[in-house]
Amino acid sequence: MRTETVSVVNTLGIHARPAAQIVRCAARFASNVTLTVDGESINAKSIMGVMTLAACRGSAIVILAEGEDESEAVEAVAELIRSGFGED
C-alpha cells in the first residue's frame, strides 16, 4: 500500500476535464487507486466517483494505491494533480 497527499493547484479545481484525466491515468495501472477528500473516498478509475468529489483549488487529496504497481500509480496521479492538468 502506498499513499501520498497532494493539493489541488489549478483555479477551477477538479472539474470534468481534469476528472477524465485522473481516471484515464489511474486506469493505466493494475492497482486499485482510491482518492479521499474531506473523509470521502472514491475509486479513481470511476469518472462519476471523481466528479462527485468536486475538489476545489486548495483541497487536499489523499491518493492511495494497492497492488503490483502501486508506487507508479500513486506517483503518476500525484504528478498529474500537482501539474494542474495543464491549466492555470
Binding site: 477551477l12 479545481g13 472539474h15 476535464r17 484515464r24 493505466r28 466528479m51 468536486a54 476545489c56
Partner: protein, 333 residues
C-alpha cells in the same frame, strides 16, 4: 460497384433507361444522340439563348424546353424559329427535353437530328421534372469513395460501424438486425456526397450478404426478410470498435469531447467504443445512436453534468473562503 453509373460514363441511353419511367420521357427522334455523354449534373433553360443572348449559354447541360421556351418559339414565324434554334444548336447540344407534353416545333426535332442530339418529350410539369432529374444527376455526379465497415439504419439514424478486421463488426450488426434494425451494407460501404450529406450503399453485386466467420456467407434478406434490409441511407454517426488494452486509455470517459471523422470532406461525429469481453456491443450501439439523437434534440447530458460540477466546485470554494479567509488569500495571487 454500387450500381449507379459514374458521371463520366452516363450516356443519354442510360439516362433514359434509368429515369425514363419516372420522368415520363418519350424519345421524339428515335435513338438519335443516345450514345452521347451527359456532361453536367445541372440543367439549363435555354430561353435567353433562344432570344439571342448567348453570353454564358450553358450548352454542356441538358436543355429543358418548358412552356416559356415553346411559347416563345411558337410566337416566331418559321424563319424566325430557324434562326433562333440555329444560334442555340451552334453549340454542341446533346440532349433536350420538352416538358408538359407540349408539341415540340418541327424545327427543334430537325435541328436535334441534324446535330445528333437526343430529344425527349415529357408529360410532366417543368419544375418537378427538373427536381427529379437533378436528384438523379446529383447522385451520378457525386464525389464517391468506399469505406470498410458496416452501415445500419438504427432508429432512422445511419450508423457506420468501423474497426479492424475480425473485431466483431458483422456479429454486432447481426445483433442489431435481430433487434429490428436494417442493414444497408456489410464489409464495404460505397459513399457519395450529395449536397453536403453522405449517403451509403452496398455493393450491388453482393446485395445484402454478410460473412460471419465460421458460418461463411449468410443472406440477410432471406434470414430476416425485407424489413431488415435497405438500399441507401444517409450516414449520421460513426462508431469505431477498438481493442481495449490497459495501456491505451484513449477513449472518452465523459462524453464531453465529440470526435469527428471526415469522409469526402464531410465531418461526422465519431465515437470510439472499446471492445471488452462481456460487453453487449449491440446494446451499446443502440445507446450511442439514442445519445446522438438526444444531443441533436439539444439534450447534452455530459455538458449538463460538467456545468453542474463547476457550480459545485465554486460554491465549495466560496464556503472555504468564508470560513478561512486567511488561508485563501495566500492562494489568490
Amino acid at each position: 460497384m454500387d450500381g449507379i453509373p459514374r458521371g463520366e460514363d452516363l450516356t443519354v441511353r442510360r439516362l433514359h433507361e434509368l429515369t425514363g419511367e419516372k420522368l415520363r420521357l418519350t424519345p421524339v427522334t428515335g435513338e438519335t444522340g443516345f450514345d452521347r455523354l451527359v456532361r453536367s449534373p445541372d440543367v439549363s433553360r435555354p430561353g435567353m439563348a433562344l432570344t439571342g443572348f448567348l453570353h454564358r449559354f450553358l450548352h454542356e447541360r441538358i436543355q429543358i424546353f418548358g412552356e416559356t421556351e415553346i411559347t416563345y418559339l411558337r410566337s416566331l414565324d418559321a424563319a424566325g424559329r430557324k434562326l433562333s434554334l440555329e444560334r442555340v444548336f451552334h453549340h454542341p447540344l446533346y440532349c433536350s427535353i420538352v416538358t408538359k407534353g407540349l408539341e415540340p416545333p418541327a424545327e427543334l426535332a430537325e435541328f436535334s437530328r441534324n446535330s445528333s442530339a437526343a430529344l425527349f418529350l415529357s408529360s410532366r410539369d417543368t419544375t418537378p421534372l427538373i427536381h427529379d432529374l437533378t436528384d438523379f444527376l446529383d447522385e451520378v455526379f457525386a464525389p464517391r469513395t468506399s469505406v470498410y465497415g458496416s452501415l445500419v439504419d438504427v432508429f432512422g439514424t445511419g450508423l457506420l460501424v468501423t474497426g479492424r478486421s475480425a473485431i466483431g463488426k458483422s456479429e454486432t450488426v447481426l445483433g442489431l438486425l435481430e433487434r429490428g434494425h436494417r442493414l444497408i451494407a456489410d464489409d464495404r460501404v460505397f459513399v457519395s456526397r450529395i449536397r453536403g450529406a453522405l449517403f451509403g450503399r452496398g455493393d450491388a453485386r453482393m446485395r445484402h450478404l454478410m460473412e460471419i466467420r465460421g458460418l461463411g456467407l449468410v443472406d440477410v434478406q432471406s434470414l430476416y426478410g425485407i424489413k431488415a434490409v435497405k438500399e441507401r441511407q444517409q450516414i449520421h454517426l460513426e462508431v469505431r470498435l477498438q481493442d481495449w488494452s490497459r495501456e491505451n486509455q484513449d477513449f472518452d470517459r465523459t462524453g464531453l469531447y465529440q470526435r469527428v471523422s471526415t469522409i469526402l470532406d464531410v465531418p461526422i461525429p465519431q465515437t470510439i467504443l472499446p471492445v471488452l469481453p462481456g460487453r453487449n456491443l449491440t446494446l451499446l450501439l443502440e445507446i450511442a445512436v439514442m445519445n446522438h439523437l438526444l444531443i441533436l434534440q439539444g439534450r447534452n447530458v455530459p455538458r449538463e453534468v460538467k456545468e453542474d460540477l463547476i457550480e459545485r466546485i465554486i460554491s465549495k470554494e466560496n464556503e472555504q473562503t468564508q470560513s478561512d479567509p486567511d488561508g485563501r488569500s495566500e492562494d489568490a495571487d
